[in-house]
Symmetry: C2
Subunit: 192 residues, 2 copies
């Protein structure tokens, strides 16, 4: 999405360790018109796929998931992060490794809200090595739901998680895919 | 808001310890049409107040804040929860006590995103004893911003936090105020 790429170029800041700061417009302060456009773009991409539920994970994925849900008219479910696997009976959980914070956590969601027969679109703000996305796919599959695909705000293509999942047949649409981040120079993948 | 009260009556579940479970439509699975209506109601309540920023706190406040931001056309900033006060230089923080989880945490936001002169509407999903809301007001005041008011999804009026802040002059608009929760019987405050 051209709007997203332009904002990354004008306001994103590359920090050591391949960190991209986009807090000024995307994941701490949210530019609401960019978010609205992002939700509409995701609705256009997946609008004809019979999606009946959007799945995301707290916390920063919730805004994009909400905007997408509002554009598509489907409910949003968010998985919670638990440090331990000591969760109740009627929950589905998946272990996720966090490279950002180190260590593992469990993504959990109530079995009431994710069910067999659901057609799920996974929405998240970032995709890098793909740990969170793989965990959300696992959650949906454990519930017996079908994953229609994933919609991502910003994908760090050079970290490989997205392409690995694509090669296994998962549809992933990212509003911006960064293929190189070298100092201040950011190179986006060309849309095909 | 009648829609919110009806959903609480039909789907909310009262658990021991004055816990109200509304995960099926409001804070784990989000009914997107209810959320849209809630955002529009908040926009109608505060639309003429010159609000230029919405402030919320991760995680479950983000959805309602996003819907409100989309309806009002103003950016959303969310404070993060930190376990320690060991945060960077350019951040504003406020200590908040959590009765739900026990213990304290710090709500932090970058000084870049909350500034002197901002007219801030605080949005959150729940209000009970008011600890989170008081913390967010403190954050905004530390930044030199003006708090126009607060918009809350569900207020547990019987826990007193909202009325305490109202008595100090804070405008608080809650989409549903529960004045009594006795077993399965839920009594709402009459709108005035």
């Amino acid at each position: 999405m051209r709007l997203m790429e332009e904002r990354i170029l004008s306001e994103g800041r590359v920090l050591p360790g391949y960190i991209l700061k986009v807090g000024s417009f995307f994941n701490q302060q949210i530019d609401i018109e960019l978010l609205r456009a992002a939700g509409e773009e995701i609705a256009a991409l997946y609008g004809d796929c019979g999606v009946n539920k959007i799945l995301t994970i707290e916390a920063s994925g919730i805004a994009l998931a909400t905007a997408s849900g509002l554009s598509m008219g489907v409910p949003v479910v968010f998985a919670k992060k638990h440090k331990s696997s000591n969760v109740g009976d009627d929950v589905i959980s998946a272990r996720i490794h966090s490279y950002t914070h180190g260590g593992d956590y469990d993504a959990v969601v109530s079995g009431e809200y994710l069910r067999r027969g659901d057609r799920v679109l996974i929405v998240d703000d970032f995709l890098a090595k793909g740990c969170a996305l793989r965990g959300l796919i696992e959650l949906a599959e454990k519930a017996g739901a079908e994953v229609v695909g994933a919609a991502i705000g910003i994908e760090k293509g050079f970290q490989g998680g997205g392409d690995d999942l694509r090669s296994r047949g998962v549809r992933i649409e990212s509003l911006a895919v960064i293929d190189e981040m070298d100092g201040d120079k950011i190179t986006f993948r060309k849309s095909v």
